[in-house]
Amino acid sequence: MRYETVIGLEVHVELATESKIFCSCSAKFGGEQNDHVCPACCGMPGMLPVVNKHVVDLGMTAGMMLNCDINRTTTFDKKSYYYPDLPCSYQTTQWFAPVAVNGLVDIETSKGKKSIRIKQIHMEEDAGKLVHDDWTDTSLVDFNRTSVPLIEIVSQPDLSSAEEVIAYLERLRSLLRFAKVSDCRMEQGSMRCDVNLSVRPEGSDKLGVRTEMKNMNSLTAITRAIEYEVARHIDAIENGTEELVQETRRWDDVKGKSYAMRNKETAGDYRYFPDPNIMPVVIDDAWYNGIKASLPEFPEIKRARYIDELGLTEYDADLLTASRAFCDCFEAAYEVCGSAKEVANWLISDCMNILNRKQMTVDELKLDGKTLGELIKLCMDGKVNRGNAKKILMEMFDSETPIDPAAYAEANGFIVSNDTGKMDEVIKAAVAADPKAVADFKGGKEKALLAIFGKCMKELKGNCDPQKLREALLKHIDSL
C-alpha cells in the first residue's frame, strides 16, 4: 500500500526587538547569566506587564508578509503550567484573538509550486533556560531569555514531505528576514519548530494518529526526524510493531531516534484566560496603514526587477536578494552612482570579502548605501583609482563615525592627479635608477617594465591613471 504524510508546523520566531515584550530589559541573545533581568521578567509580585509596541508592529508585519488577515483588536491571554524556567508559572500569549489569521505562503519544490495555509500567528513571551550541572547534580535557571518576544506561526496540515517542510521553513525565513521581523537563526534558537505528523493510506480522507516533535532547530535534524517518524508510523500500521498514540516526542539527533515524552492523557490543561492586566490592543487605520506601507518588496519580485530593469545577471541578483541588508545598500548606492553592475560588483566581491574576513553574515552589513554610491562614483569618474577606493571602503567598514569618501580621499592624498609634470619627473628618476631593467625591456623582456611601472605608481601614491602612466613611461623609454 502507498502512504501519504500529513504535516503541520508550529514555528517559533524570536522578534528582532531591542527590549523584551513586557519590560525594558534587553532582548539580546547571550550575555552573562541573569544579566538581562528585572523584577518583572523574574515574576516578582507587583510588576505589571506593559506591551512593547514594537512587538505588535512586528507581529503585524509578519502577518502581512504571510498574507494573513490582521485582527484589528488583538488580546493577550495567560497560559498556566509549572516549570522552573517559567517564573510566573504562566506564559502570556495570545489564545482568543491572535494578531494575524488565515494566511498563505507559496513554496516551490522539485514537485512544483504549492500554497501552504497559515492558521494563525500569535505573539507571546519566551521562557528562560535551564542549565543542568551533572557534577553537582543541580539545575540552574537563566532568565535572560524570559519574556523575549516571540511569534508562533501555526500552519494548517498542508505539508506532505520533508522537502516541503524545508522549502516552507526557508520561505518563512527569507520573508521574515526581509521584513526585519527576526534574524531567524536556527542555531541560536531564534527560529525553532514543532512538527505535527501523521500518516494515512494514499487517498484516504481520514487522518492517522498524530505525533508532535518539539523544539527542532536544524534543517537537517528536521529532515531526519520526519523521515524517521514516517517510517516508524508506516511500520506500526503495516507490521503492528507498536501501537501509535497521540503524544509529544523528543528527537535525539545523535541517536537518530524519537522518544515518547508525554501522551494525551498526561498532557496539561493550560487553563487559558484573558490577561486582565493587558488591555486589548486596538490597531487603528493609521497604525495598520503605516505598517502596510513599510513592508518590503518580496525578494523574488526584487530579483525579477534587478534582472529585467537593471540588467543584472541572475547570479548577481540571487546573491543580492539573499539579504535585505544587501538589497537596501544596493538600491541606495545605485541611486547615487547610476550603475547597477558596478554596485553589484562592489557588494558581491569587495564587501562580501570584507564580511568574510570579519566573520560576519550578510545580514550584518551595516554599510550606508548612499556613501557606497558616492565612493563608486568617485571611482567611475576616475577621481580615485580602484586600489585606493578599496582602502576607503575598508575604512568605511572599520570606522565608528560615518566617512565622506570625497573628503577622506582628499585628506589622504587619494585624488588622482592630472599633474603630468610630476609624472614625468617620477618616470625620469625611476628609469635613471634602474638601467638594468630598461636594458632588459629593450632586450625583449616585457616583464622588466613592470618593476619600473610599480615604482612610479608607488611614488605617485597610486594617484594617476594607470593607462596614462604606462603610455608616458613607454614614450620616455623610447626617447632614450
Partner: protein
C-alpha cells in the same frame, strides 16, 4: 494581636498605614501569607512616592487577610484582628479608629476594607478602576482590585485619595491622566439616589438601622431617596467569586518556592518542592480559591463558567449604567451584619463568599464605591465627588 506587621520608627504626622498588600522596598511585605513571610521587595508601589510627595509619612504595614481575598478578616497568617468586643475587624480599620494614623491605604480585592469601614463607622473610598496605579501591589484579582483609602472623616479620605490618583506608565490598565483627573475635578451632582431593595432583605436590625439613618440624612438634605429592585446585581457575588478565584489561582502560581518565598525543607523532586512549599505556606481560604479557580478555568468549564462570568460582568455594568442614568448614586449595605466572630467563621467557612453579595457589585464593575454611615454608595465612573458629597451629608447628619 498583630495590627502592624512592620513599622517605621519616628513617624511624623500626618501618617498613613499601608495594608500589607502594598509593596515597600524598606519594610517587608507579606500579603498576610506565610508564603511571603519576611519577603523584601526590590521596589515599592507607585503610590508610595505620591503619598510621600504629598507630605504623608508611612507609619508601617497593616496585617491583612491572606492576599486580600477574605471579607471578614479571618485568614491572615499573622492571626485574626478583632475589635474591643471580640468581633472580627481589620488591622487598618483599628489603626484608623484609634487615631494611630490619619488614613489607611488598602487593596480592595473582595471588599474586606468596605465591610470593616462600615462596621467601624469609618469613611472609605474604592475609586474608579484604573485611576490609581496598581504598580507594586501584590496581585490577587487584577481585573477588579483597586487601591482604596479609609479615614475617620470625609475630608481626610478625600484628600488622601486626591494625593494618589493619577496615570502611571508602569500600569497598563492605568487610565490617561485627563481621565484620572476627573476623580478630583468632576462636579458633584446629588439630587436623586436609589436604595436597592433586593439587597436589603437579609440584613440584620443593626444594619437596617444604619441604612434608615442614611436615608433620613439624605432626605433631610433635599436628596430624593427612592427604593427600587435590581435583581441582576445579586449575580455579581457568584460571578466575581469565579473571576476572583481564577485570577488569584493564576497570580499565586508564581509562588513556587523556587525563586523567593517559602520553600519546604521536605522535597526530593521538583514536583515535591512545588507541592510541599505551597501546601505548607498557603492558608485554607487561598487553597479553596486555588482549587475553585483552576476548576473554573479548566477546558471543560471555561465557556460555561468563566466566560459566562465575564458576560455577567457586562450585564452588571449595563445594569449600573441604566441605574446611573436616573440616579446619582446607588445605595446598598456593605454586609448583612457588622459583627462576625471567629466562631462564626469556624461554623461557616464560606462567609467570605456569601457576604460578597454586598461587595461584589462594585468589585466586578470597577465603579467607585464610598462607605459612609455604615452603608455603601456606588456611583458611575469618576463620580467620586458626588459620592463624597453624600458622605458629607451623612457625616453631618450623625
Amino acid at each position: 494581636m498583630k495590627l502592624y506587621l512592620a513599622k517605621n520608627e519616628n513617624v511624623t504626622s500626618p501618617a498613613v498605614v499601608l495594608d500589607d498588600m502594598i509593596l515597600t522596598s524598606d519594610l517587608p511585605t507579606t500579603g498576610g501569607s506565610m508564603m511571603l513571610d519576611n519577603y523584601m521587595s526590590l521596589f515599592g508601589a507607585d503610590i508610595i512616592e505620591k503619598l510621600t510627595k504629598a507630605g504623608y509619612a508611612i507609619a508601617g504595614k497593616a496585617n491583612v487577610g491572606e492576599f486580600g481575598i477574605d471579607l471578614v478578616g479571618e485568614t491572615s497568617y499573622y492571626g485574626a484582628v478583632t475589635d474591643d468586643k471580640g468581633n472580627l475587624s481589620s488591622a487598618s480599620a483599628e489603626l484608623v479608629k484609634s487615631g494611630d494614623v490619619l488614613a489607611a491605604i488598602g487593596l480592595d480585592v473582595n471588599g474586606a476594607g468596605r465591610r470593616a469601614a462600615a462596621m467601624n463607622g469609618l469613611v472609605y473610598v474604592k475609586p474608579t478602576y484604573g485611576t490609581v496605579s496598581r504598580y507594586g501591589t501584590i496581585p490577587a484579582a487584577c481585573s477588579g482590585e483597586t487601591v482604596s483609602v479609609s479615614a475617620k472623616t470625609v475630608s481626610d479620605c478625600k484628600a488622601v485619595l486626591a494625593s494618589i490618583v493619577g496615570h502611571d506608565d508602569k500600569d497598563g490598565t492605568s487610565l490617561p491622566e485627563e481621565k484620572c483627573e476627573l476623580v478630583k475635578t468632576s462636579a458633584a451632582s446629588l439630587k436623586k439616589v436609589a436604595v436597592i431593595k433586593s439587597l436589603t432583605k437579609d440584613i440584620d436590625a443593626d444594619t437596617a438601622a444604619k441604612l434608615d439613618a442614611v436615608k433620613a440624612s439624605l432626605t433631610a438634605a433635599g436628596v430624593t431617596v427612592e427604593e427600587i429592585d435590581c435583581d441582576v446585581l445579586a449575580y455579581a457575588k457568584t460571578a466575581w467569586g469565579i473571576l476572583m478565584c481564577a485570577e488569584l489561582c493564576n497570580n499565586v502560581s508564581r509562588y513556587d518556592g523556587v525563586k523567593y518565598g517559602h520553600r519546604s525543607e521536605n522535597y526530593k523532586t521538583i514536583g515535591e518542592l512545588y507541592t510541599n512549599s505551597r501546601t505548607e505556606a498557603f492558608g485554607e481560604l487561598t487553597k479553596t480559591a486555588i482549587l475553585y479557580g483552576s476548576e473554573t478555568l479548566s477546558d471543560d468549564n471555561y465557556m460555561p463558567v468563566y466566560d459566562k462570568s465575564l458576560r455577567i460582568r457586562r450585564v452588571i455594568i449595563e445594569a449600573f449604567a441604566s441605574l446611573h442614568a436616573e440616579y446619582d448614586a446607588v445605595i446598598i449595605p456593605a454586609s448583612s451584619k457588622a459583627a462576625y466572630t471567629e466562631a462564626d467563621i469556624n461554623a461557616n467557612k464560606y462567609i467570605s463568599f456569601d457576604e460578597a453579595l454586598y461587595t461584589a457589585p462594585a468589585s466586578i464593575s470597577g465603579l467607585p464605591s464610598v462607605v459612609a454611615g455604615g452603608v455603601q454608595l456606588i456611583g458611575k465612573a469618576f463620580s467620586e465627588n458626588t459620592l463624597f458629597e453624600a458622605a458629607k451629608i451623612i457625616e453631618e447628619g450623625k
